[in-house]
Symmetry: C2
Subunit: 545 residues, 2 copies
Amino acid sequence: MAQKPSIPKGTRDFNPDQVAKRSYIFDTIKSSFERFGFQPIETPSFENSDTLMGKYGDEGDRLIFKILNSGDYLKDLRKNWSSAGVLINNFFLFIEGLFIRDISKWDVDIKKGIEDFFDEEYRARVEDFIDKRKVMLLEVNNRYKNFSQAEKAFQRQEIFIDFFETYILNKLLDSNESSKIISEKALRYDLTVPFARYVVQHRNEIELPFKRYQIQPVWRADRPQKGRFREFFQCDADVVGSKSLWQEVEFVQLYDEVFTNLGLKGTTIKINNRKILYGIAEVIGAQDKLIDFTVALDKLDKIGEEKVKEEMRNKGISDEGISKLQPLFTLKGGFGNQVESLKTILSTSEIGLKGIEELEFIDKAISTLQLKSASLQLDVTLARGLNYYTGAIFEVSAPEGVQMGSIGGGGRYDDLTGVFGLKDVSGVGISFGLDRIYLVLEELDLFPETVSNKVDVLFINFGEAEALFALKAIKSLRENGSNAELYPDNAKMKKQMTYANKRNVPYVVLVGDEELKNNQYTLKDMSSGVQQKYSLDELLNKVKK
Amino acid sequence: MAQKPSIPKGTRDFNPDQVAKRSYIFDTIKSSFERFGFQPIETPSFENSDTLMGKYGDEGDRLIFKILNSGDYLKDLRKNWSSAGVLINNFFLFIEGLFIRDISKWDVDIKKGIEDFFDEEYRARVEDFIDKRKVMLLEVNNRYKNFSQAEKAFQRQEIFIDFFETYILNKLLDSNESSKIISEKALRYDLTVPFARYVVQHRNEIELPFKRYQIQPVWRADRPQKGRFREFFQCDADVVGSKSLWQEVEFVQLYDEVFTNLGLKGTTIKINNRKILYGIAEVIGAQDKLIDFTVALDKLDKIGEEKVKEEMRNKGISDEGISKLQPLFTLKGGFGNQVESLKTILSTSEIGLKGIEELEFIDKAISTLQLKSASLQLDVTLARGLNYYTGAIFEVSAPEGVQMGSIGGGGRYDDLTGVFGLKDVSGVGISFGLDRIYLVLEELDLFPETVSNKVDVLFINFGEAEALFALKAIKSLRENGSNAELYPDNAKMKKQMTYANKRNVPYVVLVGDEELKNNQYTLKDMSSGVQQKYSLDELLNKVKK
């Protein structure tokens, strides 16, 4: 009954070192969130399916992990199938009828037969079946009277099974349709929709503006690949219930604060505004192609100017429109310079100018308040899930030289909670990409040495009396803030020392006969190899954290 | 499209206050775990189904949440169904045959018909069907030749649908059978089985003895009720790879440490040993009734001596045996006294005496090392999932006067990893019941005031220039360790103060024209109502954390 153990693809085990490093990132983010006045909430791992379904597009729906109902979850599916019994029976009668009908009245008879035997839902299906197999059926019908009993039975079976598999099985065991019947719960796909649900459900307990943060895992049935997992943590901070641009200012500062605290200096906080994208589309007469236009523009970094223009042309954006864009491709310099160019481009677009005004507000405030280690950069090609955002759009990239996609992103989205029945609640928020931040810190060797919660002192076990004597010292060491433990077994010295080495324990304490008699402890510094005898007080002092 | 939002039964949203209190408990437990040399690991929320299924008994299997496969998960079920088409067709032919058979040769003909039309799998089912409906079928057969065409069709439909629903549907849409086909992953049910899987899967990276802790949610499709949830956290610490009783000593100390640190004084750590239970069963000649015997004994607290005896008698334990138990019911006094009585009872049981020896070892060590606030108590009625544990059994109860079940439990289990192919690895561990500990701390008002990460200072928003000036001070306050924020909108003063009140903000800062001019901040102490002007340095000093 032994099984070779493994875990589902796209999921991960985390060993002690990894957990410690991840906790370090979480804790840093959390404490910054709290400094900025955000409060934690937590929502259940699974939500009612109708809370999640339809919120992430068809592709998203497909990627949501569904949980099978408990108990006899197929009960209702069986109930649906009961009607299939009648259908199957009718189909039999119908085939029989087919075979004794006068072939000259075939079409009229078929039509009448279908009306007699099938209800509306199935009529179209039976007609489709007959239609596709008309020639074959006519032939069988023609020869039917001459068939032997066995041949007749064989023909009928062929036709029935064809119908059964094509029409009945595929319809009644349809995965999409059945999901709603056999699964009513689904694993969280992100933290934004559950947050919107939370805000609406608890609206009477919440004081708006509500600043919440949430650090929890989410699950997506995506094809796993390097850096993309089926279970991963999201770290989100959002404010709902205020349209104030000070929030955007705060979020830029928050990004700077977190990455500075993580020692990750030189990040770039890219900012854009959906209103600018809309304004540009307006100016070039492509409002109806807003998504095509921004999807193409978003690729500028990757595929270059010419290919972006080609894609726009292919999507039906006029040459004239594209020529108006020319300044966009050559936008250079700091925030101010870019904004001036944009003002020229967008001079005829009210909404575009509004977007510029918002950007300028944020830039001005940040210039006064100053960032610690990040820089704020305008990037008009930034789109990020355009349909979602309605104002500011953020994305953070790692310091230059590190090959890594964005390590954070966010933006403003009006009407976050509308889908749950609470209108006109604006939200703005940012997210930190834990897994990528981890990889960046690892690559740049930025995890503090002290991150891993290693054991500080290991006591070697020389037998019962010695062990008990050791445990007394261990108790004091722990009270002193040290992580201390006794090797549990009175094993060979070599084995115990190997264990100490493999676990990277900095200090080992040896208590033998002599130490026991003199009420002393021999402390061995594992890096220098130096051994010395100490009293308990001295020992506590020596390994003080 | 507005939905009334809700969450699945048995799950919970946690508001900021609850998250803060839960984090306080988690953090306290975590830091004690680390003091004692335990290292954190984390495992995926879902495991391959075959890792979990069959590990918790039939009842457990039923309570495991299964995750629907992605994509066209019913594909394989449809494949299975294809064979049903042939079966259905054959059943039709068979019914027809039934009706034209000579009733005098009924039994012989039926038998032959079944053999002709059905393969082995279905023969028994068809026979059963015919058997149960023989009288009815005979009657129909008898009258069949006189039926009109319509009556014939009606009769055949009745019989077919009966068969279809009773025999085909129930078999092919069986929830248990289908689970294996449409679901290959399941949500973690506890942390012990995933830990065992982890140890075996990573055995080459792990140094034994391996002391791990794990604090993660688990999911059970239990009927939700007061204090029982479908998603809840487990906090486990276990050691694998050592049979040393020092581990048991350490776990008793660990319980004491955690509850003391939580301010929860006066807990009782109850201890028993499976070997003692086995020894008692041996002495009274009921080894084969070990489970019945201990289940009954476990109820002593609740139902009293007489009813326990009655239950034992009902389970077939002899009066002579029960009379040998008499001393158990009157076990009184401290550890030592109880042990002496047990030694008398168990004098003829080698394994029982071994259990006593283990208990004495632990008691002696704990007496020397001393507990801070808990007391260790022998409880021979303690059983807790007996099949699982093989040595020590622990259970912690809240201080007297608090009505609450156990707030922690654990024990030693040999061969933890055997089911995954790694034999002879002994494990011992304990678990903390987060939800119950939360309730006890709440009831006894033991959460520290500082637990909630509230905002320390809120700045009122009087307009753009004032807000920017405020944000400079906020930046300094945050660097000083305070949680500070700006009210985002330039709303009416009253609205902003109401917000400050509802969020329980201790300090509010007002910056108007005058303050801006004089580079000052008006600080209002919300509890006293006192307002005073300060420079930035003074302000920082005043609200220093």
